[in-house]
Symmetry: C2
Amino acid sequence: MRVLVYGAGQLAQMMYLAGCPLGIDVQAVDVSNDTVVHPVSKQPLDTSLAQAIEAADALTVEFEHVPERLLEQAARSAKLMPSIDAILVGADRVREKRLLDSLQVPNCPHKVISDLSELDECIDLLGDKLIIKASRDGYDGYGQWRLTDTSQLDELKLSLSGLDLKTVPLVVESMLSFDRELSLIGVRGKGGEVKVYPLAENLHHQGQLHVSVAPAPQVSLALQEKAEAIFKTLAEGMDYVGVLAVEMFQCGDELLVNELAPRVHNSGHWTLSGADISQFENHLRAVAGLPLGDTAAIGPSAMINVIGCSSFSRDLLSIPGCHLHWYGKSVRDKRKMGHINLVAKSYAGLGEKMHTLSQYLPLEFFPKLVNEAQRLSKC
Amino acid sequence: MRVLVYGAGQLAQMMYLAGCPLGIDVQAVDVSNDTVVHPVSKQPLDTSLAQAIEAADALTVEFEHVPERLLEQAARSAKLMPSIDAILVGADRVREKRLLDSLQVPNCPHKVISDLSELDECIDLLGDKLIIKASRDGYDGYGQWRLTDTSQLDELKLSLSGLDLKTVPLVVESMLSFDRELSLIGVRGKGGEVKVYPLAENLHHQGQLHVSVAPAPQVSLALQEKAEAIFKTLAEGMDYVGVLAVEMFQCGDELLVNELAPRVHNSGHWTLSGADISQFENHLRAVAGLPLGDTAAIGPSAMINVIGCSSFSRDLLSIPGCHLHWYGKSVRDKRKMGHINLVAKSYAGLGEKMHTLSQYLPLEFFPKLVNEAQRLSKC
């Protein structure tokens, strides 16, 4: 069994590591130059892309921003999972909003505009606090702008004036006051069976995910069920196969979908040690037509991203239930270098482990850690 | 960080998979031709053995029967862990017995002979039920003979007559009636710190391990402590670094050491899903000088070897807590093709899962499975 993954970053690497024990050989495509590479060493393999597509049992993606010509080539093989439409939904906010609306999935009030003159109308419709997002190639906070007061409108129009809105329209959203961001990672098999992990709570800093806690604390059964119903509506609506991540805002008892990621997702990395079967193995099981694995949480888990730094004491591994996942990349500002998983028996225990962890790390790179440790310690 | 492993089988592969997330690159040496290969694909890497030794931070072994000239070359680098002496103890039953006796570790009554005429003396000393083992290259039941009645003595001498006992002496042991075989997997770090997993119970068939259950049922705290004390005596006695497996016979409250394996061991494969940190990761942590990881069991686990068959339904993955580990080898009679781990919350639950598992497998290749499922169900 062989699976070809478009994208050769850490997600492909973690799929490879999950595939080996199952006898699934994962190869990766470096989409910058159409070469097939080893997902860990990144060394080119002795095969062309066309040959690799031919030899693979399934094709999938580790990120949604794969060039469309490659996705179309992949789709022609009839082995691409999820489908090209589902992948493009994740890559294009206009398609995403259209899907959410057509399936009547609650999401933020919004308007799509292809001319800056429409911004005034948006203020009338959506209020004077707005988030403006480029419909394509937005990633980790890039391609986003904010309006917090109408006095900024002229300045905003100026900074947007260079964009070709006819080709890449903008999605304008109300800036909602929400309680927190949650995400649901779930998986749908070829036969339509669905398994979902418990909701995770995500903490961002400057547009990047820094910490996920799963199961998210203080989630009622009703809220988890609401999230699962949303997941099923979306996954069935797209006839989806594989892992799908749904980012949501919680506003009281309501959940508004913010974003879809048609792939394994950073907010699901906790499943590597916090669940019996990880999102990576479940994604492979889905696209390989194998039974889906258990998605229950073993205990409260935290995933802490290591961003923009590589220099810290590996003695943090002395913390029981602490797992390091290192991606082997050269360090760059804001680059995700790896992540650290913690598993505990209680939220208070998780908070304590997080506090211990903070003593091993350069805290300027971990702005969410200490506060979250304190919050969990009181749970 | 790079670790070079002598041997390129499934143990090196599982070390590689454990090393990746820690940022430890594991390379393997195919000792049949002195080439350095990728531990999963087995493809030759672009390096000579001498270069690989030079570039590695640590050298280790996945099996003890590495040619001595290679072990000596490795030892000269001063990076070999465990030491060449410890490895040779595992490869040579005479050295092994000498070590056990010198450290006063209980083991089976035995005598080393280098002439067949000494067999009669053995019967006087050890009784007329004997196991005769070649001192070297015995592996999985090969190189072993039995005497169950003195009337077989002449026939036995005949079948041993072709051996060069001056070079490879025989170890003659009393055939003890023991309650069961247990094994203790433990790890010792560079600084002398020790962590041990709970005892596993091992079920053999025709000299091959078929099933391990861990923690072994009905082990008193005193018995576990006795096993741990034996482990510490041995590990400290050899100034050992890495994972060491100690196979023991339980006779009532007594433990007699049967065999040492200076490496990760088949009876420790359950740790891949039954403990927070597996024996593979702990071995790497030890030789890399990292803190050792938690060795407590998550719950009752079973490891079922897949021997000599590859054709069975992968639908067994639908069993919660079931993990397949496939080694990617071509099928041969009696060859270990992979293993299946099961984790449960209770022994009875483990027995039920094992029973469910048995319905997916060709039982002629799994002679221990059904009985063990029944036994555990009653625990």
